[in-house]
Symmetry: C7
Subunit: 76 residues, 7 copies
């Protein structure tokens, strides 16, 4: 039964709202933060976010809007 739980990709993002996610963007940018909002274009808002470079924190963002078409993957 568990296998049938998620049937549409965006259901995963719904479950991740207000949780920590890690996002890889095109151009080798990785951002980690609390998922506050997203839409069907994969535009995403993170809160208390950090941009990472080689695993180290490069920049901190109180709030950041990521344009959907630059997203490669989102993971919890």
């Amino acid at each position: 039964m568990n296998d049938l739980k998620i049937t549409r990709p965006f259901d995963m993002l719904n479950s991740a709202l207000n949780k920590q996610v890690l996002i890889m963007l095109k151009g080798n940018v990785t951002v980690r933060g609390k998922l506050k909002a997203f839409d069907v274009h994969l535009n995403i808002v993170l809160e208390d976010a950090e941009e990472l470079e080689n695993g180290k924190v490069k920049t901190k963002y109180i709030e950041v809007f990521l344009r959907g078409d630059t997203v490669i993957l989102v993971t919890v």
Copy 2:
């Protein structure tokens, strides 16, 4: 008769639900995992996934959302 089984490309992905798939993304990223969800834009959710580099596991993901327009190919 067997030859006529699949007539639309997404039928292959339907058959692969809850099975292991391997996905090549643009930018030389390969991800392997259990196919949990996809949509017509080829947005994909994998469970128990691994990002591979030169055939070796680089990162593990409990759950990962892959944006459709970064996908090159999906194989079972």
Copy 3:
């Protein structure tokens, strides 16, 4: 008369169903296999397919889904 046989580009792919095709993808990837399915976005499913590198077989796929927007050309 023969010259008028094909009038829409996708007619060629219809004729190629269940036959061997060779596909060039962006990023210098070539895949060869039996054409099982395609749609108007040029999403394609091949069966018994091989990825080629410099004319040599690099990987074999029982079944592979190719995303349409990575396709450059399809030949019989």
Copy 4:
């Protein structure tokens, strides 16, 4: 309750109107200025803006229109 405040990504930009924002564009361009206008394509107008290079001001703009599809991220 606070966690539910933002539910759509563009709500963050609405809250940022007439405030300082920092915008990363494709091609390694960063622009900072007062957010005067945006639309659903993420076309953006900034006032009293500065283009930054390695953290230093390279050019000043009284008013600048940024085309949405070049935007990577917007932060407050």
Copy 5:
């Protein structure tokens, strides 16, 4: 009067049906062959086609489908 003959770009391709055309694709690929079919997306089928490299024949195709969005120019 002759100047007014063609008024829409695709009229030129209509006139070129069943004639030799030369096509430049993105990624420095040039293909020459008999134009058998095209659509508004500039998807094109050529017959008796040749892929050229530095003006020399690299590969021959009995029939080839070129995806429209890789086309740069078509000439007679």
Copy 6:
């Protein structure tokens, strides 16, 4: 009150009609000239325009049409 003057990004371009603007295009091209026309795709016509390279005039155009999807930013 002044802060509320512009509410949609294209209002800025409307105000700039028949005035000097500077436009950055993808591929490191900068063009300066009098804004004569634009549309929602950001297709733009400039009059008495100059293409700049490292701040120096490289080419002069009596009239030039810039395709919207190559535009990065427009400034007054």
Copy 7:
């Protein structure tokens, strides 16, 4: 009054029909010729055209179809 003559970008191309234009394409290709046809996607047909490289004629085309999404700018 003269300033109000052109109000939509494509009006400039209408005025340029059957006249010499110079077109910059992505990938550093420049083509010069007589403008015979265009559409809203900026697909363009030139007659008696020349492809230029560093200002010198590289190839001549009796007729050439340029795909709109490769166009950067058109000038008279």
